[in-house]
Symmetry: C2
């Protein structure tokens, strides 16, 4: 099956079901605008890849994948708000608060958080055995201790360890995607935590490299913001060549961390083939 | 048992568990500030009253009650933001964004939404059979079609039916509280919908009466804001005496809507005794 198309269909079904009947039209538009058209949908595809490696891609996995993407979209909408990044563009178009105003941007983010939980609960209505684990994974991925919300809140603190910040801000949702794939397939979710964490770290380093080497047109959002905001990045810390070498090492470690599962070998091959998309240009040109 | 003390204990346990380990300290403080000290805790007490009437107040009911209160607190924090009500005080102290700044207010609201879902999932870990219904009730109570988020979003629309607005903004959480009490006790949640809806309508009318007849010191928040913002209220529409008579009729209808259950008679008596607290002063003095 074309998993990317399946993810889009699941997202469309969830958003349109949520907007049915008497939904305020501005809010319905803002939520849809925040989710479509999407980016690379890396996190839900990762979730489904893990579910497939564990031998079971069913409606629970698709719903879990869609839920994770909705939490990702929610965090982008709130992070872009004037009180945080004050971003004007995202995915090549005006941010939600620029297009719909701040009130609907705050509410669209809230609505997407709620919809994520509702989506997994609906999928587990007839067989709720996997639901506690799935809700737990979603909660921790965005929660105030080590999830996206914690990551964003660290920006309000005078001091934070860089590793703690990135683990919450970027890593948590990769960990959740990998664990959700396993949990939704009825496999041991905890065994996938290290893989998700290392892949998330690799993605963060790749993002730092993109931010330092791309143009706004290529990324669909402003570049160089991390440096402008004085945020610590792998490129600042290790130099461009060092960051690229670090990225390669992280990808190797992530592949080694893939736990035993029915589809371990093809899954590793797929991850190795797809992580090159983390960095749009061939990053070898920057290697020292 | 002292149910109000039990609710506080459950809320404290959930908030402190969520703030453990490496939670950003500012966020932990903002979330705690948003929840404690609480108001009358009407919604969680309603939830537990229904669970008791259905014959079963266990950890699921307490968790469901705490989750509903957390969603209520989240909505207050977001509704108070400068882009919505721009409120300076709430429950007799500065609002969260006045005390902690807008970024932490947005994040505290987000965190409380997530924590609500996490709390019910944790309570149902060993027996997940009631979890899909409980997550569904929470989702609908705040969701974008007819929940709190919808209610707030209607304020961004040029036109809305007053009934639709109040049902979403106030009624949805009363419906959820009643249905959650039944669902967590393993009873038929849908049978409690009308009771919750009528009680919510009564509370809204009582709130209109309070807003028109109290001082800021009595309420711990500014008064007369509904009139100042041109919002339709029962007092504007029916006059004070008419609003009080309407309130009494709604309470009678709510009591009639209490479905058959093991504790129907004492539950009705309790509701009749407690709704007088909806209006702090003896509202009889305003009756026509």
């Amino acid at each position: 099956m074309d998993v990317k198309a399946e993810v889009e269909r699941k997202l469309e079904a969830a958003v349109s079901r949520a907007s049915r009947d008497v939904c305020p039209p501005g809010l319905a538009s803002a939520v849809s605008y925040a989710v479509f058209p999407g980016g690379a949908r890396i996190r839900p595809l990762l979730c489904l890849g893990v579910a497939q490696a564990c031998g079971n891609v069913g409606d629970a996995a698709l719903s879990g994948a869609a839920a994770i993407e909705m939490l990702h979209c929610a965090s982008l909408v709130h992070d872009d708000l004037p009180c945080f990044d004050d971003a004007d563009t995202r995915r090549g178009k005006p941010t939600v608060h620029r297009a719909f105003g701040q009130p609907l941007a705050v509410l669209a983010g809230d609505a997407l958080i709620v919809l994520a939980f509702e989506t997994v609960a609906t999928a587990c209505q007839d067989d709720p055995r996997r639901l506690p684990a799935m809700v737990g994974i979603l909660s921790r991925s965005v929660g105030m201790t080590s999830g996206l919300i914690a990551g964003q809140a660290w920006e309000s603190e005078a001091e934070v360890a860089v590793g703690t910040y990135h683990a919450a801000k970027t890593g948590a949702l990769f960990v959740a995607a990998a664990m959700m794939g396993a949990a939704s397939a009825g496999a041991d979710a905890a065994a996938w935590k290290d893989f998700g964490s290392l892949l998330g770290e690799a993605y963060q380093v790749a993002d730092d490299i993109r931010d330092a080497t791309s143009t706004e047109g290529e990324l669909g959002k402003p570049v160089g913001r991390d440096a402008a905001l004085g945020r610590p990045t792998a490129v600042n810390h290790l130099g461009l060549g060092g960051a690229v070498a670090h990225l390669d090492r992280l990808i190797d470690r992530a592949l080694q961390a893939v736990p035993a599962c029915p589809g371990q070998v093809p899954f590793r091959e797929k991850v190795r083939a797809e992580v090159r998309w983390f960095v749009p240009k061939d990053h070898a040109q920057f290697a020292a």
